[in-house]
């Protein structure tokens, strides 16, 4: 009985989320706000990806920014080549402006060899290639990293530290490969995404819908994934990997699969973020950013996909609302710090857990007779 209420409540939250996200352009007139919200929806996707690996697989990835950043750079390369800043020299062959600045005197003005490694950009002249790579590259990296880590049965804190070190490594490499990545400054002044001749200006309702629909689809797909038996087995490996092994499951392959899915989502999110924000910089590889994602997921609820997504959206929206004055912004960061400590100490299941407990209380009150409800809540049903 009470289980059904939880499932219904869960579905209601998903439905409400999707309806609000899709109907938002009707309510918000300001395209600048719509653009901001699109960014926060992308962050919501990142929170969801963290919940998938941390909440459901027990893999705390403190380097999720690696996959986000890779996805971002891949599409940014394509969009950079479409930008007017790449055609400034009156040539019909696009060359990113920073490559011209970085080129050795006398280097041929061609993508093949203007700077060392500039040939890597050649296939990105096709926008579809950049889009595809934004997901493929993070997925391939995650497969390699995941297979190595999980086959060696590295777990817990060590996964966190390795992923942390990896994202820092990536940050340094992207900064150091100045001739290919424009170093510290990253890729800026990007062109717009163009599909079937339509240019998607980041401040356009249609662009908002690209993000909104993507987020909803990813949310539903992830929910489906964790409701499958594979999702259940994954959760079993989180609780007791040895028991899963003795039931005949190759634990590593489940961990690698979901780690990779989570990375793919992060890469996809990176691509969407570049489409609405028009830049890609090494700050995506900052530790602070990767840990922020974990903070969002923790506040929203690490073992609830939609909770984690809402946590990310909520925190960022509030942050944007208080950011008018520098002082308030600093104070907000202080509040976030305090809230985060409190959540870890007293509310490890986050807002989603709180919502469940409240619902359980309501159900118990309305039933009066049965008192076993709060116990039997299904964490897995989300």
């Amino acid at each position: 009985m009470s289980n059904r209420i939880f499932i219904l409540g869960d579905r209601a939250v998903y439905a409400a989320f999707i309806i609000i996200v899709l109907a938002l352009p009707l309510l918000v007139d300001d395209v600048f706000w719509l653009n901001r919200i699109a960014k926060y929806l992308v962050f919501g996707m990142l929170g969801l990806a963290i919940a998938l690996s941390w909440g459901y697989a027990g893999i705390l990835n403190l380097g999720q920014g690696l996959f986000f950043g890779l996805g971002a750079y891949m599409i940014a390369m394509s969009l950079k080549l479409q930008s007017y800043t790449s055609l400034q020299q009156g040539s019909d062959k696009p060359i990113p402006d920073f490559m011209l600045w970085n080129a050795e005197p006398g280097a041929p003005t061609d993508l093949c060899c203007i700077t060392p490694g500039s040939w890597l950009w050649i296939p990105f002249q096709a926008q579809w290639f950049g889009m595809a790579m934004a997901v493929v590259v993070p997925v391939v990296f995650a497969l390699i990293i995941g297979s190595t880590i999980f086959r060696l049965r590295v777990s817990g804190v060590y996964v966190a530290i390795i992923t942390l070190a990896l994202v820092l490594l990536a940050r340094l490499l992207f900064i150091d490969l100045q001739p290919v990545t424009n170093g510290f400054n990253g890729l800026t002044d990007l062109g717009w995404l163009t599909i079937a001749g339509i240019e998607f200006d980041p401040f356009m309702v249609a662009t908002y819908y690209i993000i909104a629909v993507s987020v909803c689809v990813v949310l539903l797909l992830s929910r489906w994934l964790i409701s499958t038996r594979a999702g259940l087995i994954l959760q079993s490996t989180r609780d007791d990997p040895n028991r899963s092994r003795y039931l005949g499951y190759d634990v590593a392959s489940y961990q690698v699969f979901f780690f990779t899915v989570s990375a793919g989502i992060a890469g996809f999110a990176g691509m969407l973020f570049v489409i609405v924000s028009e830049f890609a910089t090494p700050t995506y590889f900052d530790i602070a950013f990767s840990i922020s994602m974990v903070v969002w997921a923790a506040v929203g609820g690490r073992s609830s996909l939609i909770g984690a997504a809402l946590g990310a959206i909520l925190i960022n929206t509030i942050e944007a609302s208080v950011s008018e004055s520098e002082m308030f912004q600093q104070a907000w960061r202080l509040i976030i710090g305090i809230v985060f400590v409190l959540v870890v100490l007293y509310m490890p299941r986050g807002l989603a857990g709180l919502a469940r407990d409240v619902l359980a209380r309501v159900v118990a009150l309305s039933q009066r007779t049965g008192g076993k409800d709060s116990q039997s809540s299904h964490t897995a049903a989300e």
């Binding site: 390795i162 070190a165 490594l169 602070a288 600093q330 104070a331 960061r333 710090g337």
Partner: protein, 297 residues
């Protein structure tokens, strides 16, 4: 070659100072303290503030920073960490929150900014600690150019390492710390006041961070987020060395410091750090428990 080794050696000593405190808190208590870097930062600010308002020089600032950082550490232990023993990932997350809080308190001058009050030496800007001029002028010793400040750091590091070793291996409280390291439940059953010893251990580790902060302030700009980068380096040292192994921490900071120093001579700082990260990842994969370790919590 000596020059290269000396660069590596001074990198090593800074790394070691930072890692020493972490090694104790992580090794003895199973706490990943992401706010360790902020304790370093607090040590640095203590020196800056004491210099401006009390006229302290670096020698007076060192013990003061130790005490201040230790007290802050004690507070963190009492309020946050005490509730999280045995939940290592949660300690990492909660102390990350603590780190943000500490940074913001410095930026907002403990909230005084809201009342329009400003204290010299605090706030979001950059600060500097004055180092006595005689420590900045290199002198010649047997044909080698010696930088007094770097040598001073080295000496303090050696001194503190020796002190730590003495405390851990030669005192009654050290025995208790090591007992808790191996088996906290059994230690408690043997009548050790685990809570008190843990709190003291954490305070001591925090104090070391404060000292490291003062020394760091001598050659780096002091700013609210200066701790964020050092904490990661410290952790990598501790993990590579092996949790709970003092010797491991010393050797791994030497290893990583030297790799960093040598590679940066032949290429650049960025590549050097990248190589260090690569080596660290490889070592964790090869020996997840670190180069020198015993089985613990």
């Amino acid at each position: 070659m000596f020059e290269v080794l000396f660069i590596g050696l001074s990198l090593t000593s800074v790394l070691l100072l930072i890692a020493l405190g972490l090694s104790i808190t992580y090794g003895a208590m199973g706490v990943i303290n992401m706010a360790h870097g902020e304790l370093v930062m607090i040590g640095a600010y203590t020196a800056v503030l004491a210099g401006i308002h009390l006229g302290f020089n670096i020698f007076l600032s060192l013990p003061l920073a130790f005490v201040v950082a230790a007290l802050v550490g004690l507070l963190i232990e009492r309020v946050v960490i005490r509730r999280l023993y045995g939940r290592i990932i949660d300690t990492l997350l909660a102390t990350w929150g603590v780190a943000i809080i500490l940074q913001q308190l410095i930026r907002l001058e403990f909230g005084l900014t809201f009342f329009g009050i400003s204290i010299e030496g605090l706030g979001p800007g950059l600060q500097n600690m004055r180092v006595p001029t005689f420590m900045m002028e290199p002198f010649d010793l047997m044909g080698l150019s010696i930088q007094p400040y770097r040598t001073f750091i080295l000496c303090v590091t050696i001194l503190l390492t020796a002190l730590t070793w003495y405390l851990v291996y030669r005192t009654a409280i050290g025995v208790q710390v090591r007992a808790i390291m191996r088996n906290p439940q059994m230690a408690a059953a043997c009548g050790i006041d685990v809570r008190r010893v843990s709190a003291l251990t954490f305070a001591y580790g925090s104090g070391l961070a404060g000292v490291a902060g003062v020394l760091l302030a001598g050659f780096r700009t002091v700013m609210p987020d200066m701790g964020a980068t050092v904490v990661v380096d410290g952790f990598l040292v501790v993990v590579v060395g092996g949790v709970g192994s003092l010797l491991g921490t010393i050797l791994s900071s030497a290893l990583l410091g030297q790799i960093n120093g040598i590679v940066s001579v032949f290429s650049n700082d960025i590549i050097a750090r990248a190589v260090v990260f690569g080596v660290v990842i490889a070592i964790i994969l090869w020996r997840p428990r670190g180069l020198f370790s015993f089985k613990s919590r």
